[in-house]
């Protein structure tokens, strides 16, 4: 019997070889694909376990502090320390901190926008009388904005050391003196945040010990004495921040005599001409100066950014060629007890592109309602506090975990960019729309002093006893979160969050891309990939089972005529069935053995062998069932009017169509869901990282899918064409050209292959639509399928030997 079966196999050499190849592909690639799919899932899980947890696990805020953006979009602005309203007292924080399930509870209290001392910039002594006209500018990285108004100083000469003759309009505060031309650099306001030194250090690893420093400069002492010893707010300045500040300077050489102007102001030869500011003639004298002919004029812009820090400036001077250097001689301004608080930004239009509108179109423009607070030294001797910069802190420039987001990270270094890629920076005024990181930190006592008894805006909590971010960890975190929720706090679990780029429409600037923190990314990633893995597994298994059924059903149909013949010559039905089965058993088993060999070569894991063995067993079962089932044959004598060949050969063609349909489903769904999930994941940093980790695995799954699809389609068409080989030779006998036969064939084959593929594509698209895959990816997946399979089919038809 085996010999008879073997003979038929050999007789149908090409058909046998193709089905062998197809079976081997199935036996090797299905376990391979399943393995890859499983590996993808475990890679994602591992990545999340390792990187999913940020520096802290949850954010505890006073009740109803969630903003509309957070509620609607599920995202949190980076560095969001918002409107500094506070709401949690130091006592409450202490209670949270003492909970043993909590490892760290680090409070933040945003105090508002503060300034430090400002120093002067000294203008150079030039050889000729010169008018300096200057204007300070700040910048948001894209545009420059003038600060205060443009001013002029008329320099005549240095009559002797310590006596520089210059004239400028003095309004109120007089910081002018005769030894040098000193201009005070305008103040800039930066975000000051209060922290608890110990817990903050534990949470972030940043050294804040400078906060313990005592500052006892002579200058501070004098100030404190003069102002009735107000409390000192010690500030640590972030070391890597500089202020975007420049000065535009026009120098105009004038042909004027000092003496002439001294006379005009009724001053004597040795007098300092600035004394003339109190003269009645001053206005007309300034007017005269303005009308003096200009001998030579130059304009330069000097960038002062690198010398200026948020809470501490540097005294500067300009050399003769207008280069800035540090100066020993300076005047300073200490009016640090004025500060600003800014409201939250009101994001409009949350369903499409969130919009940020101008609140005040000043220079620079302001996007938040800014409120002035504190007491100015100029108005009162009873000032509430005095800001003193006592040291610096350096946020880790390269945090170990860039993938996990930490809203209220307060040191966030993510950049906002325009759509053209220009980096935007916060301006020197409090109203900037860019979420500013904490430029300076201070103590909680200072926060109480400035904000009152509930100064804390948020507490970042790290749960104790977590090593990796797995399911157990998630449960622990949510238990702690529930407890805090019960106490009435607003709690957001931020472990497993990541960054996501959000496009904003900023009035006056245009589209701006900002990294925002998306909550729950890790859970979503896990569930997305779990789902993709499940789908892939399901698809592969379904494909292989259906393929086996369809393929063996086809074999059975081919055998139909032969079986009738054998029956006619007196074979028993059971013998016929046995013969047919033995042939398929042989093919299946040979394929199985070859597959085992290949799997060994591919260094397959144990489960892969098991899957192949299961497929082998399944194949045997299906064959036995199908080939021993009674065939229901009804014969038809009238020809079909249309699609005659297709309907006549339906027993052979329908299985082939089924395989095409299955293949297009497999390829289409696989491409679409992988692409869709990939794209969905890549929105966040963590997701993108997992994508990079699994890229090759996913590509290999796709390759496996393509190979399975293409091979099975090739095999089924090939089998079909071999079966109808005599038909094709007949065409040639009756004198058709090869071209005519091909044309005829393409016409027929196109009809049923395309309908099968289109049916598959439509069915696939419908399924994908219900799986919520985006239209774009459905299009790509189905397009790929259609093109790939159509090309395969045409290659098979066109390369047919006729």
């Amino acid at each position: 019997m085996i010999r008879i079966a073997w003979n038929r196999i050999l007789h149908r050499k090409i058909a046998s070889i193709t089905i062998l190849i197809a079976l081997i592909c199935l036996y090797v690639f299905i376990p391979f694909g399943l393995q890859q799919s499983k590996e993808t899932k475990s890679t994602v899980t591992e990545t999340i376990e390792e990187f999913g947890r940020g520096s802290y696990d949850m954010l505890v805020r006073p009740p109803s502090s969630r903003t509309e953006v957070e509620q609607t979009l599920g995202v949190v602005e980076e560095n969001y320390i918002g409107d500094s309203k506070g709401g949690i007292s130091i006592e409450e924080w202490n209670e949270i901190k003492s909970n043993p399930t909590i490892e760290v509870a680090a409070p933040v209290a945003s105090l508002g926008y503060f300034r430090g001392k400002q120093f002067s910039i000294e203008l150079p002594i030039l050889d000729n009388p010169t008018r300096f006209t200057y204007q300070f500018y700040t910048s948001d990285g894209q545009k420059k904005y003038p600060i205060k108004e443009q001013k002029s100083i008329m320099f005549f000469e240095q009559s002797r050391p310590g006596m520089v003759q210059y004239l400028t309009r003095v309004e109120s505060e007089a910081q002018y003196s005769s030894p040098a031309m000193l201009i005070i650099i305008p103040a800039s306001y930066y975000l000051l945040v209060a922290i608890d030194q110990e817990s903050e250090q534990k949470l972030t690893g940043i050294d804040f010990s400078d906060l313990n420093k005592k500052q006892e400069s002579a200058m501070l002492k004098t100030m404190l004495d003069n102002y009735g010893d107000p409390p000192v707010v010690k500030v640590l300045q972030r070391s890597d921040l500089t202020i975007p500040l420049s000065i535009k300077l026009r120098t105009e050489t004038l042909d004027v005599e000092l003496e002439e102007y001294l006379n005009k102001l009724d001053l004597k030869q040795d007098d300092w001409i600035m004394q003339g500011n109190s003269s009645v003639n001053i206005e007309s004298v300034l007017k005269d100066l303005r009308s003096e002919p200009i001998v030579e004029s130059n304009t330069t812009r000097v960038d002062l950014s690198k010398f200026q820090k948020p809470f501490n400036g540097t005294a500067l001077k300009l050399t003769k060629d207008l280069k800035p250097t540090t100066a020993k001689r300076y005047s300073a301004e200490f009016n640090t007890s004025v500060y600003y608080t800014a409201s939250r930004i009101e994001y409009k239009n949350l369903d499409t592109i969130p919009q940020v509108n101008l609140v005040e179109n000043g220079d620079p423009p302001s996007y938040k309602k800014v409120e002035k607070k504190g007491e100015s030294m100029l108005d009162s001797f009873d000032i509430p506090f005095f800001i003193e910069q006592v040291g610096t802190f350096s946020p880790l420039t390269d945090p170990q975990n860039k993938l996990a987001g930490s809203p209220l990270g307060i040191y966030g270094g993510m950049q906002a960019k325009t759509v053209d890629g220009e980096v935007l920076t916060p301006t020197t005024i409090p109203g900037s729309f860019i979420p500013a990181p904490a430029s300076g930190v201070t103590t909680l006592e200072a926060a109480e002093l400035i904000k009152g008894d509930k100064p804390i805006d948020a507490i970042r909590v790290k749960v104790a006893g977590i090593k990796k971010y797995d399911e157990a960890a998630q449960q622990k975190i949510s238990k702690v979160a529930t407890n805090l929720l019960k106490k009435g706090y607003e709690v957001d679990v931020v472990a497993g969050s990541s960054f996501k780029e959000l496009t904003l429409d900023v009035e006056g600037i245009g589209k701006v891309v900002e990294p925002w923190t998306t909550l729950g990314v890790a859970q979503e990633l896990t569930s997305t990939w779990n789902y993709v893995t499940l789908l892939t597994t399901g698809l592969f298994i379904l494909f292989s089972v259906l393929w086996l059924i369809v393929r063996f059903n086809y074999e059975k149909n081919i055998l139909h005529n032969e079986n009738t013949l054998l029956y006619t010559i007196g074979w028993k039905k059971s013998t016929i069935h046995f013969r047919n089965c033995v042939e398929q058993y042989l093919l299946i088993t040979v394929s199985f053995l070859v597959s085992l060999f290949l799997l060994y070569g591919l260094e397959a894991t144990k489960p892969m062998y098991w899957i192949t063995a299961c497929l082998w067993g399944l194949s045997l079962l299906i064959v036995t069932y199908l080939l021993t089932r009674k065939a229901k044959g009804k014969n038809r004598s009238e020809a079909y009017k249309r699609f005659a060949s297709i309907l006549y050969y339906k027993r052979l063609i329908f299985p082939a169509m089924m395989i095409l349909l299955l293949s297009s489903l497999l390829i289409g769904i696989q491409v679409s869901t992988l692409g869709h999930s990939f794209q969905k994941a890549s929105v966040t940093f963590l997701g993108e990282f997992t994508n990079n980790q699994t890229l090759w695995l996913q590509l290999s799954i796709l390759v496996v899918t393509f190979v399975l699809g293409v091979i099975s389609v090739t095999e089924s068409l090939n089998a079909l064409f071999l079966e109808r080989k005599s038909e094709f030779t007949m065409y040639r006998t009756i004198g058709w050209t090869r071209g005519a036969v091909i044309k005829h064939l393409i016409k027929e084959v196109s009809t049923w292959t395309l309908s099968a593929i289109i049916a598959g594509v439509v069915l696939g698209a419908t399924i994908l639509h219900f799986l919520n895959v985006s239209f774009g990816w459905i299009g790509i997946g189905m397009g790929t399928t259609f093109i790939l399979l159509t090309i395969t089919i045409y290659i098979i038809v066109l390369t047919r030997k006729l």
Binding site: R636, S637, E638, A639, I734, G735, W736, T737, H744
Partner: protein, 227 residues
């Protein structure tokens, strides 16, 4: 006028590295409008010779001329066109497409050369002229008797109005009555001026030709003349 000049053909055996010579230096001239019959034992190469004459099998040596046309010098497409228009082929086992109706089978050779309607009319006329009943036109070949099948096959070979009819044992599968009908039909065709080349091992059938050839041991010998 068809001339077979010095044609030889042998087949390579797959297993034995050995050749079997089937035809050896065969020469044959077939005048236009004549009917020649070829007889010979099974396996003597009759079908092989017919295939060579009708352009389906290239001989190892020698040429086939249709008037001045050297058949095997034609390019593929030209050869197909030539064969379709000049030669009608009839087989012992009919070789009808199982899924096409009787009419469609007849139309098949010219399916891509002519207008459907025109072709259909011609097929119907042909079928009627060889005595196929109308109700069989839309049937599948399976539902026809052997004689009917062969007549349909002959109708198919006639659709392009070929000058030459090549018949490979057209009556081999038929009973006496059907055999006679086919012979009558071929006789009529010859009267219409067609050249007929017929292979058979039925001497009664062979007798109807102008000339009778024997094919044996690779060579062709003239057997006899009948009227």
């Amino acid at each position: 006028m068809i001339s077979v000049k010095n044609v030889s053909k042998s087949f390579q055996h797959l297993s034995l590295s050995q050749k079997t010579v089937i035809l050896q230096n065969v020469d044959l001239s077939i005048p236009k409008g004549s009917w020649i019959s070829i007889v010979g034992p099974s396996g003597s190469g009759k079908s092989t010779l017919l295939n060579i004459i009708s352009g389906l099998l290239k001989p190892d040596t020698g040429e086939i001329y249709y008037n001045d046309v050297d058949l095997y010098q034609l390019h593929n497409k030209a050869k197909s066109d030539f064969r379709r228009k000049t030669i009608g082929f009839v087989f012992q086992d009919f070789k009808l497409l199982p899924y096409y109706s009787v009419v469609d089978n007849v139309m098949l050779p010219l399916l891509y050369d002519r207008k459907k309607k025109e072709l259909y009319d011609k097929a119907v006329t042909l079928l009627q002229s060889i005595g196929i009943k109308k109700e069989l036109f839309s049937r599948l070949p399976e539902g026809l008797s052997g004689g009917e099948k062969q007549r349909v096959a002959i109708a198919r070979s006639l659709i392009a109005d070929p000058d030459v009819m090549v018949c490979d044992e057209p009556t081999g599968n038929l009973d006496r009555e059907n055999r006679d009908r086919i012979i009558d039909l071929l006789g009529q065709l010859r009267e219409d001026g067609k050249t007929i080349i017929l292979v058979t091992h039925d001497l009664d059938v062979a007798d109807h030709g102008d000339k009778l050839y024997f094919l044996k041991d690779g060579s062709l010998t003239l057997g006899g003349v009948s009227v």
